[in-house]
């Protein structure tokens, strides 16, 4: 095995120097490398680098004309959306803020109104049926209501 390893080393050195390697030597080298892990390691390090550089040495094609045209269109689109963005940056946040603010205000107002209205009804329920009729049913006016009660009480002689 030792002689074969040294033979392999010798062949590889000659290959690196650009000296010719006979087909018989090549075949012997291949056979040995397939079975010897040390020699395989020796071959793999430079082999990997050479493999990659060869694989990627293919000429790079030129970008097609449609590439430039497409890019130009995209950039133009970007510019127009940029203008829109500037508009929205300036105005949209305000309008965006206005929407929830308005909604919240509306909600608060309706809640207040509902509470007030609910309270009014509850107060209203304390008023007797005769009184409702007397006050023309439901037209709740606190001042008028008190006045009417006083009148009724005076009339009743309380």
């Amino acid at each position: 095995m030792k002689t074969r390893c040294s033979e392999t080393k010798d062949i590889l050195t000659r290959r690196d120097k650009g000296l010719p390697v006979s087909p018989r030597e090549k075949a012997a080298l291949k056979k040995h490398i397939a079975s010897c892990s040390d020699c395989r390691d020796r071959v793999l390090d430079p082999g990997l680098a050479a493999l990659l550089s060869t694989a990627f040495s293919t000429p790079v094609p030129e970008p097609s004309p449609s590439f430039y045209a497409g890019l130009s269109r995209k950039i133009e689109g970007l510019d127009s959306s940029k203008k829109y963005d500037l508009f929205s940056e300036l105005f949209l946040p305000v309008s965006l803020k206005l929407v929830p603010v308005m909604a919240a205000l509306l909600l608060m107002l309706s809640a207040t109104f509902a509470l007030y209205y609910d309270g009014s009804l509850k107060n209203n329920s304390r008023v007797s049926v005769e009184e409702r009729v007397l006050f023309n049913d439901g037209e709740i006016n606190a001042k008028a209501f008190l006045q009417e009660i006083l009148i009724v009480e005076v009339q009743n002689g309380k």
Binding site: L48, L52, S53, P63
Partner: protein, 191 residues
Amino acid sequence: MQNDETALVRETLAGNKAAFDKLVKLFAPRVFAIIYRFFSEKQQAEDIAQDVFIKAYRALHTYGQERPFANWLSAITTRHCYRELKKRKARPETNASAISFDGSAIIDILCFDPGSSARNTPEQKLVIKELAEKVLEKLSAREKMVLVLIEVEGKSMKETAALMGITPINVKVSSFRARKKAKKILQRLIK
């Protein structure tokens, strides 16, 4: 040359779109060459190149004129490719190779063929490319990128780190792991 680029950048920033078109014409081959290392399908490479230029256009105001425009654009391109590779790794496309490799042919490629690339026939070149792809597809996006930048582009660790936006230590570690993995794959294919 750099003055021209700087002038074109300044004009673009002032709103002259034709100046940016000139920059694209000037640098598209370079950008395309970088992308083509990682995405060898032409249409795919063109789509990515367009994204790169759009990114560059948007970020043009951040370009510090103390370094060449080409370096700035190369860094954007490399990082974009890195992100795309990561995305594609997350959802891998199963591209079964039509070529089956036998150990003897791989040893032949590793020991003798790469050095004589000029003499290789298109079929041989295709086999070499397929073998390289087979090895690289098993690596992570970062490992693949580091290996290609160092081995193919001939970049130093420091340059690779700057291009990818990672530390030189990370490059060193990724490079070591990538080589180890690649050699293991080749060992397995040879046996």
